[in-house]
Symmetry: C2
Amino acid sequence: MTDPTVLLPSWRDGATRSSLLAFLKAAEQLPVEQRVAAFDNDGTLWCERPTYAQFDFLVSELAAQAALDPSLRDRPEFAAVLAGDHAAIGDLGIARVGLALAELLAGIEPDEFTLKARAFMGGALHRTLGIPLLRAVYQPMLELLDELRRRHFAVFIVSGGGNEFVRSISQDVYGVPPEAVVGTQITYEFSRGEDGRPLLLRTARLDGDANEGAAKVHRIQAQLGRRPIFAAGNSAGDREMMEWACAGDGPGMALLVDHDDSEREFQYVSVAATVDEATPITAVAAQLGWVVASMANDWTSVFPTS
Amino acid sequence: MTDPTVLLPSWRDGATRSSLLAFLKAAEQLPVEQRVAAFDNDGTLWCERPTYAQFDFLVSELAAQAALDPSLRDRPEFAAVLAGDHAAIGDLGIARVGLALAELLAGIEPDEFTLKARAFMGGALHRTLGIPLLRAVYQPMLELLDELRRRHFAVFIVSGGGNEFVRSISQDVYGVPPEAVVGTQITYEFSRGEDGRPLLLRTARLDGDANEGAAKVHRIQAQLGRRPIFAAGNSAGDREMMEWACAGDGPGMALLVDHDDSEREFQYVSVAATVDEATPITAVAAQLGWVVASMANDWTSVFPTS
């Protein structure tokens, strides 16, 4: 049992933990309204390999619908997904496949989507780790969320994932309410039932861009109206948000989660696509002076043990 | 001095106050995550006559810029505004005039807009009431916000006003942080300064529709992800949001502020434009069973006295 009075117990002593503790201490001197933290989700708060949890959910939904309507198997996007043929998915394009999958959940109310997502996530196991998907979250990051909140930070999740999907689990898994999630948004259609009752229905069309790169900065300002002074991410899609957090007048900190632990999680490097496709995000971090959390070296445990 | 133990002291005893108290009591039985309340701002939380506060701010900004650059006076939209010629503004169209005024604040960072708005609002007087604009807020509604928050409601402002403008005053005036404001959104442009520093700059283009009517329902779901069970409004632009709040599975309440007090505030009736242009919103309220707050009869005081 870890001593609960020790801050960030799953962070190993060293430069990264010291930087976090120094930031937390410095933030206590700031006006509360400046204490804003933004976290990417996939690969930053929870595991994104070998597949995104949202993808797993959509595959499950596709399988259920294809069992009732086998003609769905004729569509190339769905055939590739059902076969687990990642080469075919890549050939079709992940965006095209994603929009096809979104059609499976068009025409329903947001609350129905939420119920479906919760039903899936409540029972799903991680494909290779053998733990529930809802437990494939990073214990050190959960501790960081808690320490920020204890210092009256507003803690936001800024994800490339769909708003409704991330919101379906954000309160239970992270203690983050739906309105503090900024994700990719599907367009809704407002209509009225035969009784005149107002209805809001999901479509399969994106509302604006996918929430990656500069779109994350746009949406933070549009939805939240406050610049974070702390941002955590792990990939190219988080770069602008992390730079933005460090570009204010006061203190700012960017934390990059480096997936360098093939033993306990996965080893891979994201490529920063937005400025220079050949530059890995770890090199961007070194160039811009970000703090890097090495999963292998900085984390005493990766997933919750209790 | 009002007895602080009395709930809603500025609400006169009667059917409206009883309905509010019954709703507050019933809500205590609901799961906290269902306790969501949405308030329109102009005409619902603060005075919107004879002009919107945001319009007053933009006129002030226009006058300041025209003093430095007299050529601005040649533009018909600006000439009409500077002359206070409401007929000319009506002829040009309020949307066109509004977008022209938005150009005055394009190309700057959101934080600069906020500072300008705060500087104006901090010193501005209401045009006819002779009180500070920041005091032209409805005391009974402030009491209602407080009672909802005491019951752990998430309290949101869902306004046709601009996000940055409403957010510039929402914390100080209503205790509502920026991320709990859902307003009309200007598009931003992400760019980089010469030093590579990321910059987010306001444009003069709307991001989506003005936040009125069905757009309010869209944005509540997109930004907040939760359906309110309480909605307050005063005009046609609030109708869909108020219907939406009453259309969930559990209890729901819509409160219409009726501007029937020519003595203490203004007497006017909004026309519900979205379904039937000839129907005043008070008739919609009667038809749909909304609770109506008569300013003349239900409010013992309109503005804060201390």
